[in-house]
């Protein structure tokens, strides 16, 4: 599923980033699953989407591809304890992207 180019004119609002993240997750876990599961800010990566460690790596790659070096997903994840990763929501990732981008 192609992502909208970040270079298009639309401003990188929080809603736009949430949409991007939805698209990225669809790419990671498969479009079919995402189509049937509501993804909002409160959705949990682990409990709701059942995203596992390796899929996190793939997620990081997509984020970097899309947003460039401004997002250092591995470094960010490396600061977290396992419990924190398990409790991570989509909203938290979106916030991280918002604060990381200029």
């Amino acid at each position: 599923m192609p992502l909208p180019s970040p270079l298009d004119d639309a401003p990188l609002t929080e809603d736009r980033i949430l949409d991007d993240v939805r698209t990225i997750i669809a790419n990671v876990i498969g479009e079919d699953y995402v189509a049937e599961i509501e993804i909002d800010r409160d959705t949990l990566f682990y409990a709701d989407l059942e995203i596992e460690s390796i899929e996190f790596v793939a997620l990081g790659e997509y984020l970097q591809d899309h947003y460039g070096d401004r997002i250092d997903f591995p470094a960010w994840i490396a600061t977290m304890e396992v419990d924190e990763i398990i409790a991570m929501t989509i909203g938290r990732l979106v916030d991280h992207i918002v604060t990381s981008l200029p």
């Binding site: 079919d32 049937e36 989407l49 460690s53 390796i54 790596v57 793939a58 990081g60 070096d69 470094a75």
Partner: protein, 1462 residues
């Protein structure tokens, strides 16, 4: 009660049915465990359930709560008691002592409390407890017996009668005057004070069913008045005496439904139970000061009597209300703050109605403004009514409920009592978190006693936090509620649907969804390729499933939903098992899986720690899961491992023999291997990126290529630090791993010799299932040395897991199951992203083992695999599997004897009566006088004559003994014969002689309709000649007939043993057979019985069943799951039995030396023992390499310890093989019901019949298979594969119909052999041709043949009607070809059959007409043929040498002659 008056519960101990301790008790309650069972025969003699209602010695229910097994073990040494003292004492004293010790331990030992200030108050009823009942038997009954004997037998010397009395008393054990103290009732409390040196008041109280709470009330008083600092309070009741049961039976208070249903509309009475429960109580202030753990506090207690209004069966509401009000007044607590009421809940309609009315009066009606309804329950639904100990059970339950914040469920309350609606309460059938009302959790406990004594105790949460108290060893509520890993809490809840397509499934789902959200799993319904599974369905999942179906695309596992329109396995996809290697953590608890499937979980070796321990757990998990999955019918096509997981694969694929696995691991201790200075790191990138990153770093290598997003690198510490910097710069996630083994890198090279040496010592064999190597991405080699080389390479070369997954996928694998916890599922998913495949783990760190296994089963089933889903519905545990627990002890243990069996006189007792010494029985006719009609009088005269004869005959037969009941026995013998004569399917052949009965049995399908389900041979549907199906009486049914005949000769006695059973011939029911059954009473307690010419046995009888011994089967050696499940035993015709004989319900495990399983007690005569025999037969079928079929031949001894369990009862059955001979197998069997042995069979010999695999297949599925081998040349040949006439007989019946059998039976044995070979060859030749022409399944019997000259037959009837078949046969071979050719074999040499056969084959095909063949030993063979006359042997024509211009001697004849060597 103000804060300082609160009483703390600081310890608890209990023993109740199904629960030897508090932990289990609580677990059972939360899990909704029903501990009610049928009364074990050693506790209550089954005769008491057999009478008529209204009689004092008839008990109206046979069910109750019983403390059994380990809970009865007592260690006298631990309590400073002599074992002999235990024997003579009331067992409840020992139970109280044991429970008190557990409670004191639980309270931290109480060493910090002055022991002279500790008291004991126990509720205990004044019933006829077991030791007292035994004393009554000794003192009163023995004298009653003596008086009775004196009265009946005035002429017998008194010494002899006194000897009988003494023998009777002697059966009660030694009498020791010093043990009399153990009969004093209050010792239940005093022994505790004595043992622990407590100085407070120690006493028992009796307030009937309110006793425990009255004791607690007294304890509270003692504490508040500061007469004691700590008090042990509770109740004790271990008295399943028939007198107590009789009281309840006569009151009509026992539940006849056999289920105790408190507060249900269908409540129909109590079920009697037993138990002991104690709480250690202390003033809260002291408990806090002494830093004692506090479960909860008791904040109020109230007691009241009904006054003059009391009535036994109609409890009075006023008295109950008064008790409750007093408790709340003392507590100063608003009843509205109560969240849980533990009701008295006896499940008698009157009791429940009164209690509900009390609840309405005290707590008011439900008001929605006040939040949800509060919960009402009763632990009696789990354990029954433990009488004086019932209140303690309820109180312990309430304390734990308050402590854990869990509202526990109540059983059997589905349709509540109508009055419940008028109260503030509801019943729940699942545990719930305690969320209402706000404020401290409070629970009220009721106990109301007969005679109008009422008590209520209020329990309050200690502290405000909802977290469990410090030191609590019980898991917190959130862990307790869902999916505990403990045994028996697992419920397979799933919706499993099959349909034509997604829309079909949508329709089905819509139809069931509203009812099925919380239902237990049903087995799959519907048919068609599309499958849907929803595990643990809930509204959200149902809704999501509906959307998944609407979309119609496969859905694999997210939210526990699986959907496939067609299925990967259905589409031909293979399944691979993946074994994970050592992971940083191993957190899966698989004990529930082991328990469920009856698999023993080996403990880790002594001294194993850290990574090594982890490794052992991973190996063990792989092995266990493999067995469990196999039991579920989930079998892999391929196996592969990751790193050391390959070794687990090598064990499970049996590349390394299974019994060597431990040797292997013990010798190698893989976790102990360590290469100093070497570090592993897992990287969040593929191996090629990893390679770029480490490029140029000294010594760093890529050790694992796991998947596109993960690889592992390994190197020396300094270089790895540098790698870390590069990784951060590349923004690649990296994590150091906690191993330093250097595996899969050149660093391990120096250590390789150890491993190599180790592998050299291992015997290797070809893997049973293809095992793949991640080193080569190929299958393991089959050459042992090559395997050893690969095993060494494996440790120094990288793990190419990503490539292996690709390779497996290319090879057709579509389903990957990980046998353990780890990342292999994620690796496969990542590698095969966007491709159709299922990867799933069979274990999980977040779910219980069974919960995860259920998901695997559902997922794999959805892909189209045949899964034994039914095995997830009930545990498939062998009864003896869990036996070998050894705990540190205090010397010898004693089993507490809670039963009071009826006394059986030893066989040596004799009155020394000579023949004829017995008095004539009282003439009943004289008393009947004129009221008797002449006809009746004649009848009675005849009867009396019989009776006298019988009496004389028996007396004469008694060489040594004749107990006083003899005259009764004699009369009954006559009656028995008469009754028998009147039965529908028997006719008297002769007038029954005295003490002897003789009857003619007509064995036919009318008399024994269930024979239709015991036919050896399946024939085409609707086949009308029943004799072709061969319905025969099972040996066990014949044994039952013999037992019944013996019982009729001695109706006052019960059959206890049947010995020397010998079956001689089949007793077939078509054509009907008449057989004579004779039974002869040769002594008081022995009857010789026989169906003449078919079976005989010796039947032993006694007044009551012997004491039940413990099951003694040793654990199975090398237990493995059965390759075929119980359903398939019948469906796939491993067993020929039809529905009324299909009782094998589970096969827990097959070992080298036997099998464990469960059979259902079926009502068909003899079926239940036949089922045990089926399990036994299955062992041979599953383990033998040939001669699989075995049928019962003889049994040395069958001992009965009680009646056959009721129909539907599940009987655990163990079969232990004693001896396997070429012709016979011998085994010992035990049948265990409700934990107690009901039948023991010693020396059951099955006869084995000749059956190699093709012959066996032919017997089972004869409509699809040939016994003869087709040859490319168009003829078929069959070799004789049976060496004895019985085995030949089996095959003759398989092939021949009744008219052919008549011909066969008229021949002499040598002719029979040849004739049969010819017939088999001919029928198979026809079937082969028909099949090649597209005909469907065809039984041999559908090809009826008649002779057409010496060398041919013609089919007469059936689908091949009119075809001619050439046949030849000689010695051990039959040859046939459809067509006009004539085949003639003159002679076949003896000796090596295959050599002779290949020569014969060559000649048929290759020899030129009229040519002389001289091969090897052949001297004058001639083969003459004419190709154009044998069109159907077409292949021959082509094989024929072109030049053969000789004139045929006879154009229609093949002549093959092979002569023997000189």
């Amino acid at each position: 009660m103000n804060q300082t008056d609160l009483i703390a519960v600081i310890g608890m101990g209990c023993v109740y049915p199904g629960a030897p301790d508090v932990e289990t008790f609580w677990d059972n309650i939360v899990a909704g465990h029903d501990a009610i069972i049928d009364a074990p025969p050693d506790r209550i003699d089954p005769r008491f359930f057999a009478g008529r209602d209204g009689e004092a010695d008839h008990l109206t229910s046979s069910r109750g709560g019983f403390v059994q097994g380990d809970a009865l073990t007592f260690e006298p040494g631990r309590f400073g008691i002599m074992p002999v003292t235990v024997e003579g004492a009331e067992p409840d004293q020992m139970m109280a002592l044991k429970t008190a010790a557990a409670a004191v331990d639980d309270a931290g030992g109480l060493d910090d409390v002055p022991h002279e200030r500790i008291g004991v108050v126990l509720g205990r009823g004044g019933y006829l407890t077991p030791a007292l009942a035994r004393l009554d038997q000794r003192v009163r009954t023995s004298n009653q017996l003596l008086d009775t004997l004196r009265c009946l037998l005035p002429e017998v010397e008194d010494d002899r009668l006194v000897a009988v009395k003494e023998a009777f008393a002697g059966q009660l054990g030694d009498f020791r005057p010093e043990s009399a103290i153990g009969l004093v009732p209050n010792l239940a409390a005093s022994r505790i004070a004595n043992r622990f040196d407590f100085g407070g008041a120690a006493y028992t109280v009796d307030a009937a069913c309110a006793s425990s709470l009255i004791a607690v009330d007294a304890a509270i008083s003692d504490l508040r008045s500061e007469r004691c600092d700590v008090v042990l309070a509770g109740g004790v009741h271990h008295c399943h005496d028939v007198t107590l049961w009789s009281v309840f039976s006569q009151l009509g208070a026992l539940s006849t439904s056999g289920e105790i249903r408190p507060f249900s509309r269908h409540a129909d009475g109590i079920l009697v139970s037993e138990g002991t429960g104690m709480l250690v109580l202390e003033r809260l202030a002291d408990a806090v000061r002494r830093d004692h753990r506090v479960y909860a506090t008791l904040c109020g207690s109230g007691v009241a009597s009904d006054g003059r209004h009391s009535s036994l069966m109609s409890p009075r509401v006023d008295g109950q209300v008064l008790a409750l009000e007093r408790a709340y007044r003392v507590a100063g607590v608003d009843p509205a703050t109560i969240g849980l009421i533990e009701g008295h809940g006896t499940a008698t309609p009157a009791g429940d109605s009164a209690e509900l009315e009390t609840l309405r009066c005290v707590y008011g009606k439900h008001d929605p403004v006040d939040g949800p309804r509060r919960v009402l329950g009763s632990v009696k639904s789990n354990i029954g009514h433990a009488m004086p100990a019932a209140g303690a059970a309820g109180l312990i339950k309430s304390v734990l409920a308050v402590h854990h914040g869990v509202l526990p469920p109540t059983l059997h309350g589905g349709d509540p009592h109508p009055a419940l609606a008028d109260t503030r309460f509801r019943l729940i059938d699942q545990a719930e978190p305690w969320s209402y009302p706000p404020g401290p959790r409070r629970s009220g406990v009721n106990a109301f006693g007969f005679g109008g004594i009422n008590a209520h105790v209020i329990v309050e949460q200690h502290g405000t936090a909802s977290t469990p108290a410090r030191g609590s060893r019980v898991p917190s509520a959130t862990q307790v509620l869902p999916n505990r890993a403990d045994d028996h809490s697992f419920r397979f809840e799933a919706i499993l649907l099959r349909g034509r397509d997604a829309s079909d499934l949508t329709t089905q789902l819509a139809a069931i969804a509203p009812h099925r959200q919380t239902d237990r799993a049903g087995l799959p319904t519907g048919s068609g390729p599309a499958r849907l599974a929803i595990v643990d369905p809930n509204p959200k999942r149902l809704e999501l499933a509906a959307r998944v179906l609407a979309k119609g695309q496969p859905w694999r596992g997210r939210n526990d939903i699986w959907f496939e329109p067609s299925g990967l396995v259905t589409g031909g996809g293979r399944m691979a098992f993946l074994f994970p290697g050592i992971e940083p953590t191993f957190e899966a608890d698989l004990t529930d899986v082991a328990g469920w499937f009856g698999i023993e979980l080996a403990p880790p070796p002594d001294g194993a720690t850290g990574i090594e321990l982890q490794g052992r757990k991973i190996f063990e998990a792989g092995r266990l899961l493999h067995q469990a999955l196999t039991a579920l019918g989930i079998a892999p096509d391929d196996m592969a491992g990751h790193s050391l997981g390959e070794w687990t694969g090598a064990f499970t694929a049996e590349l390394i023999p299974a019994d060597k696995a431990d040797d292997f691991l013990d010798g190698l201790r893989p976790g102990s291997l360590e290469v100093p200075g070497v570090v592993f790191a897992a990287l969040g990138c593929g191996s090629s990126v990893a390679g770029e990153i480490i490029d140029g770093l000294d010594g760093v290598v890529v050790s694992h290529d796991n998947c596109p997003h993960q690889s592992v690198i390994c190197g020396p510490e300094q270089s790895m630090a540098e790698a870390g910097l590069r990784l951060a710069a590349r923004k690649v996630l990296a994590q150091e791993l906690p191993f330093r083994s250097g595996f899969h890198t050149p660093f391990f090279e120096p250590y390789l010799d150890i491993v190599r040496h180790h592998w050299e010592r291992m015997p290797l064999q070809a893997a049973r299932i293809p095992l793949w190597s991640a080193t080569t991405c190929e299958r393991y080699p089959t050459d042992a040395d090559a395997v050893r080389q690969l095993a060494a390479d494996h440790l120094v070369k990288p793990v190419r897991f990503r490539e292996l997954v690709e390779r497996l996928y290319a090879d057709g694998v579509r389903v990957f199951v990980q046998l353990g916890v780890g990342s292999l599922v994620a690796f496969a998913d990542d590698t095969l992203k966007d491709r159709s495949q299922l990867s799933i783990s069979a274990a999980s760190s977040t779910r219980s083992g069974l919960e995860q296994l259920a998901r695997v089963a559902a997922a794999v089933w959805v892909e189209g695999a045949d899964v034994h889903l039914e095995r997830l519905l009930d545990p498939v545990v062998g009864a003896t599997m869990a036996a070998n627990k050894v705990e540190p002890g205090y010397g010898p243990t004693v089993q507490l004897a809670l039963g009071t069996p009826l006394v059986q006189l030893p066989g040596s007792v004799s009155l020394g009566l000579a023949a004829g010494a017995l008095p004539a029985p009282v003439d009943p006719v004289a008393d009947w006088g004129s009221t008797t009609s002449p006809a009746l009088r004649a009848e009675l005269d005849a009867l009396l004559a019989d009776t006298l004869d019988a009496t004389k005959s028996i007396t004469a037969a008694l060489a040594t003994s004749a107990p006083p009941t003899r005259s009764v026995g004699g009369r009954s013998a006559g009656l028995g014969s008469r009754r028998m004569d009147a039965s529908t399917h028997t006719t008297a052949a002769t007038e029954p002689a005295a003490g002897v009965s003789e009857e003619v049995l007509s064995i036919d399908i009318e008399a024994f309709p269930w024979l239709i389900d015991h036919c050896f041979y399946r024939q085409p549907a609707g086949w009308d000649d029943l004799s072709d199906r061969f319905p025969v009486l099972p040996m066990t049914t014949m044994v039952e007939l013999l037992g019944q005949a013996a019982s009729r000769l001695a109706p006052e006695l019960a059959v206890t043993r049947i010995e020397n059973v010998r079956a001689m011939r089949w007793l077939a029911g078509a054509p009907p057979t008449r057989a004579v059954l004779t039974a002869r009473r040769v002594s008081t307690d022995q009857v010789d019985a026989a169906i003449d010419g078919y079976v005989r046995a010796t039947v032993h009888l006694a007044p009551s069943p012997p004491p039940t011994p413990e099951p003694s089967a040793r654990p199975l050696n090398n237990p493995l799951p059965s390759p075929v499940g119980p359903g398939n035993l019948y469906a796939d015709h491993w067993m020929f039995h039809g529905p009324s004989f299909q009782g094998v319900r589970s096969i827990a495990a097959l070992g080298d030396d036997g099998v464990d399983g469960t059979i259902e007690s079926l009502p068909t005569p003899g079926a239940w023992l036949d089922n045990a025999g089926q399990l036994y037969g299955w062992w041979l079928m599953a383990t033998a390499e040939s001669d699989f079929l075995a049928l019962p031949q003889s049994i040395d001894r069958i001992e009965f310890f009680g009646p056959q369990p009721p129909p539907g009862a599940m009987v655990a059955t163990t079969v232990r093989i004693v001896e396997v001979q070429p012709r016979t197998v011998r085994a010992d069997l035990e049948l265990i019901w409700n934990g107690s042995l009901c039948v023991r069979i010693t020396g059951w010999v099955d006869r084995r019949f000749d059956s190699d695999p093709p012959l066996w297949l032919m017997l089972r599925e004869s409509e699809h298979h040939l016994l003869a081998s087709p040859t490319p040349k168009g003829y078929v040949a069959v070799e004789e594969r049976w060496s004895d006439s019985a085995s030949r007989e089996l095959m003759a019946r398989r092939y021949l119909d009744s008219s052919e059998r008549a011909v066969y039976e008229a021949l002499n044995p040598r002719e029979q052999r040849l004739w049969l070979l010819g017939r088999i060859a001919a029928k198979d030749a026809v079937r082969h041709v028909l099949w090649s022409e597209g005909h469907g399944p065809l039984f041999p019997i559908e090809v009826p043949l008649i002779d057409d000259g010496e060398y041919a037959v013609v089919v007469k009837g059936g689908p091949a009607d009119g075809r001619r078949v050439s046949v030849a046969k000689a010695q051990w071979i039959g040859i046939a070809a459809v067509g006009t050719a004539t085949i003639h074999i003159e002679c076949i040499e003896n000796g090596d059959r295959s050599a002779a056969w290949s020569r014969l084959d060559k000649q048929v095909g290759m020899a030129a007409p009229n040519s002389t063949i001289d091969i090897d030993v052949l001297r004058s063979p001639v083969l003459t043929r004419s190709p154009d006359t044998v069109p159907t042997v077409g292949a021959d024509t082509e094989a024929q040498p072109a030049a053969a211009p000789t004139e045929p001697a006879d154009p229609k004849e093949y002549l093959v002659a092979i002569t023997q060597p000189a």
